[in-house]
Amino acid sequence: MIGRWLAGNRGFAVAIALFAVLFVTYNLMHTRGFSTAVLVQNANESVAIGFVAMAQTVPVLMGGLDLSVGAVMTLSACIASVMVNGTMGEIVFGAFVTLLAGTSFGFMNGLLVVYGRIQAIIATLATGAIAIGLALLIRPEPGGDVDGDLGWALTNTVWDFADTYGLAQGGEAAWLQPFINIPVPLILQFGIACLVWLPIKRTVTGMTIYAIGSAEGAAFVSGLPINRAKILAYTLSGFFASCGGLYLAIQTSSGNADMVQAGAYTLNSIAAVVLGGTALLGGSGGVIASLVGALILRVISFYFRILDIDPLLQPLIEGLVLLAAVSFGAGRTFSIRNRLELFR
């Protein structure tokens, strides 16, 4: 059973092992390692990149690419920085509008790719520029006004969440005790990933996403709903990206239409997808795997803090780690018997 799972998910298994080793070593070296405070801080810093990596995964699974994820995340964060405040009702409405905006943007990407028949790379490159433009219109200057209670509740532990909103006797209820030290961001991230992706993956449309990545022609002649699957993939991408944007706005209680930052998020999302073991050519991998990939990227940057590495060397080390990670998987190129198998 485990052997079979390993055979089919080698990249994912390697990613989990790598993350476990990196994270445990990090905590051993940290003066306050294995404490709730460190865990909460780490979890908070991983949410945005985690969501963007998830967003990138779905199009990559079908051999596509979404270069607008960072921009859609930025746009969502800017919308949230304007809308998510006031009464409880207004906050929920604002969050809903934020997610709806990002999801519709993804839906539009899907329509452009399917019915406009524009290559995904260039279509999302262009819509990414549009998203940044809209974000700049909404928030010309960085800033914002996001509900402070919500920010506190969502960026700390379960106990703080219950305490803030007076739930479960202010966090003192007996049934809550086993969970009080779990960071809320971790629950949100894995919760959304599992509740949204896993059910969708099991539908025909969800499986068609994988089928397109393996062999689009075969998927077509098998009568699979190709157009629906492609539109779904980009819509999901927009949804996950806007989740990241919404969280980023809540966490920083502001929005910032920063083009450079949006680009960095998009690039890191591709790196996270690769680190998680999803094939860039499509067909194998998964959203949860990319989440682990994103966590690996973040842990590497946590090391810079405790190791006292010259900040000037950080970009170099980040780049070398990324190159090493992608080259690591290239070993099979040399063990292949028939060179023709290298070409698609």
Binding site: L65, L112, G116, R117, I118, Q119, I121, I122, A123, L125, A126, T127, G128, A129, I130, I132, G133, L134, A135, L136, L137, P140, E216, G217, F220, V221, I226, A257, M259, V260, L267, I270, A271, V274, L280, L281, D310, L312, L313, Q314, P315, L316, I317, E318, G319, L320, L322, L323, V326, S327, G329, A330, T333, R339, L340, L342, F343, R344
Partner: protein
């Protein structure tokens, strides 16, 4: 549309893009006529100035086109350009431009080896190398703009004018002639198209696909490095992030010129027209004092709109 229908498929993007350039010029001129009563856009001096600043983009796009033709992409252009400019100005003297080109050559070789030999998707490998180059340059310069000034040769190439034309234009023209010749008159060029169409078939017909792919990346690296040396001359020094503004416009220029992003199809004349289109679009938007937000939206919409007209791919049916 009937006229367009009679054009060959390869010519349509060129004609439409050229038509759009005229539209941009017309809109810009109407705007300046209505606000100041002058038509600066249509004066040769202004157009030459625009083309001079566009030549850096044009040189990047020329090299990038070779990579896109084989169905790959080079995302390392920004920091190849910056690194070449920084190393070039740091070496200084007569060795400055060769040093810059050597940087481009090395980057291209590494990219090519990673993509052709290790078979790592170019999207991720060139991206990784871009990050490494950024890291190297940050480590070397301490994150500040380097103090080294551009050499006289760089200044001459980028800023002086010959026979009334900016020298940078001549460099761009020379690169263009060389690339156009490579693409259409050499086995290397034909191999690029063959690999972009079907790498498997190209390999089976005896082409040395590995060498050709490495060659394409070397060409892209060299072009980016040359653009870096020129840009350092134009601004009289090298600075952090000087290449960031070139990657996306270069991709857009190549694709708007009718080159298929998946490789195998495209003509150099199209890339030239694409570069001119992007440059003029930018300059008209800045004449109109368009805020950055609207510029981004217009920029994205134009690319989408043009591709909806002629960049539509084929449906997969088998």
């Amino acid at each position: 549309m009937s006229r367009l229908g009679t054009l060959s498929a390869a010519d349509r993007p060129l004609v439409i893009a050229f038509g759009f350039i005229l539209v941009i010029l017309a809109v810009g001129t109407v705007y300046t006529l209505s606000t100041t009563g002058t038509m600066p856009l249509l004066t040769p001096k202004y157009l030459l100035l625009q083309l001079q600043t566009g030549s850096f983009l044009g040189i990047c796009a020329a090299g990038l086109m070779a990579v896109i033709l084989i169905g790959h992409i080079d995302l390392s252009i920004p920091w190849t350009l910056t690194a070449a400019a920084m190393i070039g100005t740091a070496v200084g003297g007569p060795g400055a431009v060769p040093a810059a080109l050597a940087v481009g050559l090395c980057v291209g070789l590494i990219n090519g080896l990673g993509v052709a030999v290790l078979r790592i998707p170019s999207m991720i490998f060139t991206l990784g190398l871009d990050t490494v180059l950024r890291g190297l340059m940050v480590a070397q310069t301490g994150g500040y703009a380097p103090q080294d000034a551009a050499t006289p040769l760089m200044l001459t190439l980028a800023k002086s004018s010959i026979l009334g034309f900016p020298a940078a234009l001549f460099v761009w023209a020379a690169v263009s002639v060389a690339v156009a010749f490579l693409l259409s008159r050499t086995t290397f060029g034909r191999a690029l198209y063959a690999i972009g169409t079907r790498e498997r078939a190209a390999y089976l017909s005896g082409m040395r696909t590995t060498r050709v792919i490495i060659g394409a990346f070397v060409l892209s690296g060299l072009c980016a490095a040359l653009a870096g040396a020129l840009l350092a001359g134009y601004s009289a020094k090298a600075y952090q992030g000087m290449g960031n503004a070139f990657l996306l416009p270069a991709i857009a220029a190549v694709v708007l010129g009718g080159t298929n992003v998946l490789g195998g199809r495209g003509r150099y004349a199209g890339t030239l027209i694409g570069v001119v289109l992007i440059v003029l679009l930018n300059s008209v938007l800045s004449i109109m004092q368009m805020p950055e937000a609207l510029r981004q939206i217009i920029y994205g919409s134009v690319i989408i709109g043009m591709l909806l007209i002629y960049g539509r791919g084929d449906r997969v049916t088998s």
